[in-house]
């Protein structure tokens, strides 16, 4: 056996660490440049009117996001309300109750595949089913239901992982005391899996907030002059509103960039709250 040169090994190590650092730098630079250019563009347009005014395509100084912000909050809220119980229930079924057979595997594969479907397709489904067939029209509720089926697979997969991460010994302990399977799940497995379930809600909310394509299909109104006030109200949402401003003459691009910042702010706020709650729960673990 010929001994490997120590120097060559050390050089290799350095090369790879260097490569890793470059990769990180590329990612970081992208974020910094993106954020920097958005902030720079948005700066002249950052005034209260951006938050409190309705949309306008005639005067960039008066244009705002009031309706879009409220619309986004409505839709995110309703989508979470529908998708979390539905997705968690499906995840619990697949993980705890479904027999381990071909059919279940097929079902799980279908859910994963659903997560890979381009989001605009969900928009078309929403248009055909919720807007037209159910006659819901271009409303908050139709948009929420559309986004519910969009985020459903993510919630299912994350919920499955959350439930799977709870040790079997906890189920056994509960069942040995004479609990039914459901009592064990409801009283022990789900509470123990809450951190993971919060991850599901983070994913669902992030997807919902940022989604533009399916909502363009089911008509987010870009010149809404009132605040969406319920499930049956017409709506506009931030990503689509930003897109609408970008499509206007360059005078509106500052407003568009300001919209990006508002969207980022909402997203980061929601996720931070969820992450703080999750970390607090995670401190006490088995």
């Amino acid at each position: 056996m010929i001994p490997r040169s120590r120097r060559r090994r050390r050089v290799k190590e350095l090369i790879f660490v260097g490569l890793f650092l470059v990769s990180i730098a590329v990612a970081l630079a992208t974020v910094v440049i993106l954020l920097g250019s958005v902030v720079a563009t948005a700066l002249p347009s950052l005034r209260p009117s951006v938050l409190f005014n309705f949309a306008s395509f005639s005067n960039p100084d008066q244009a705002g996001y009031a309706a879009a912000i409220v619309g986004t909050l409505w839709i995110v809220g309703l989508t979470l309300l529908f998708s979390l119980p539905l997705g968690i229930a499906a995840g619990v079924y697949l993980e705890e109750y479904a027999p381990r057979n071909q059919l279940t595997r097929l079902l799980e594969a279908s859910v994963s595949n659903l997560a890979g479907v381009p989001s605009v397709v969900f928009g078309l489904i929403g248009l055909a089913v919720f807007v037209r067939a159910f006659g819901l029209g271009f409303t908050v509720i139709a948009a929420s239901l559309t986004l519910t089926i969009l985020v459903f697979p993510y919630v299912v997969i994350t919920a499955q992982e959350a439930v799977r991460a709870v040790p079997q010994s906890i189920r056994d302990g509960a069942v040995a005391l004479g609990s039914t399977k459901w009592q064990a799940i409801r009283r022990q497995v789900l509470p123990a899996g809450t951190p993971g379930l919060l991850t599901a809600s983070i994913l669902a909310a992030s997807r919902t907030m940022g989604e533009a394509a399916p909502l363009i299909v089911i008509s987010s109104f870009s010149l809404l002059r009132f605040l969406p006030d319920g499930p049956k109200s017409p709506f506009s949402v931030l990503p689509v509103q930003i897109f609408a401003y970008i499509s206007q003459p360059p005078a509106f691009h500052g407003v568009a960039a300001a919209g990006v910042l508002i969207l980022l702010f909402l997203l980061i706020t929601f996720n931070s709250v969820a992450i703080v709650v999750r970390n607090r729960l995670q401190r006490r673990r088995w």
């Binding site: 381990r100 509960a174 040995a176 609990s179 123990a192």
Partner: protein
């Protein structure tokens, strides 16, 4: 499904032909638990071969044997915990208090209520001390806060844990020491007032001091209930058990009063095991 059937029945036939009678030195008149021709399969692998075993009321019975001999499997068939394992199949009878636990009208959920199970590794719920005990009570009763408080206190006292945790009720059970966690699990089982307590190597994860405390507890508890303990620690069996069953390769080899089994084993296999020639 149809394809696998002939293979399974072939196994059953071979099991019958291989059945060797165990040496049972004492006949238990007042058996609370009795396995009759109990056979258990994990998928196609037979883990238990026609075990016949009587477990006396209000005594401590130990099941000993080398790893993989099926002692835990037999223990867990008493309260049907094996039901939770996919592809685990049971044949024969497990009579508990006069009724076959595997009979058609038995609800395993009700059965388990009367039979506590303590696991090898302490498995408190990731909740506080109080909630760990209260959980079992709340499963079966709609109780007021005062009633639950009373049960929690008396269960912890019974498990010799009250003095150590009375001021720590709202601390996470996971912050207790291993021995305390195991006694918490015992208290949790006692809170639903079982007639039988099954212990599956309850001390194997504990240090000698914690082990001694559990063994003391076993002595106190046997006044009120029937205890079956699986252990691969023969000294422990000798210390705590009134009766001992020795199992090997899925079969019951010998059953006797503990002292007789250790001092005058009848089977060569038993003697080799307790003298440490294998294990």
């Amino acid at each position: 499904m149809a394809k696998t059937k002939p293979a399974e029945s072939a196994v059953i036939v071979s099991a019958e032909s291989e059945a060797t009678p165990a040496y049972v030195a004492v006949d238990i008149q007042d058996a609370l638990i009795e396995a009759r021709d109990l056979s258990i399969w994990y998928s196609k692998k037979q883990a238990i071969h026609k075990v016949n075993l009587k477990i006396p009321r209000h005594q401590v019975t130990a099941i000993i044997g080398p790893s993989g001999c099926g002692k835990s499997t037999v223990l867990r068939s008493i309260n049907r915990m094996n039901d939770l394992i996919p592809y685990c199949r049971t044949q024969g009878q497990m009579i508990v208090d006069g009724e076959d636990a595997y009979g058609p009208n038995v609800d395993p959920v009700l059965l388990r209520r009367k039979i506590g199970l303590i696991f090898q590794k302490p498995n408190p719920f990731p909740k506080n001390v109080y909630e760990n005990i209260a959980f079992g009570v709340k499963l079966h009763y709609q109780a007021t806060k005062e009633e639950i408080d009373g049960v929690v206190t008396s269960a912890l006292q019974q498990a010799n844990l009250w003095d150590e945790v009375s001021g720590r009720m709202d601390e996470s059970a996971l912050s207790l020491s291993g021995g305390q966690q195991q006694r918490l699990c015992i208290a949790r089982a006692l809170a639903v007032e079982p007639d039988i307590l099954l212990m599956d190597e309850p001390c194997s994860a504990l240090d000698p001091v914690a082990t001694a405390k559990i063994e003391d507890l076993i002595f106190e508890l046997k006044k009120d209930m029937t205890i079956v303990i699986v252990t691969h620690n023969m000294q422990q069996a000798a210390r705590v058990a009134d009766y001992t069953a020795f199992m090997y390769l899925g079969r019951l080899v010998e059953f006797d009063r503990t002292r007789d089994l250790f001092e005058r084993p009848h089977e060569e296999l038993t003697e080799n095991y307790i003298t440490g020639r294998f294990g």
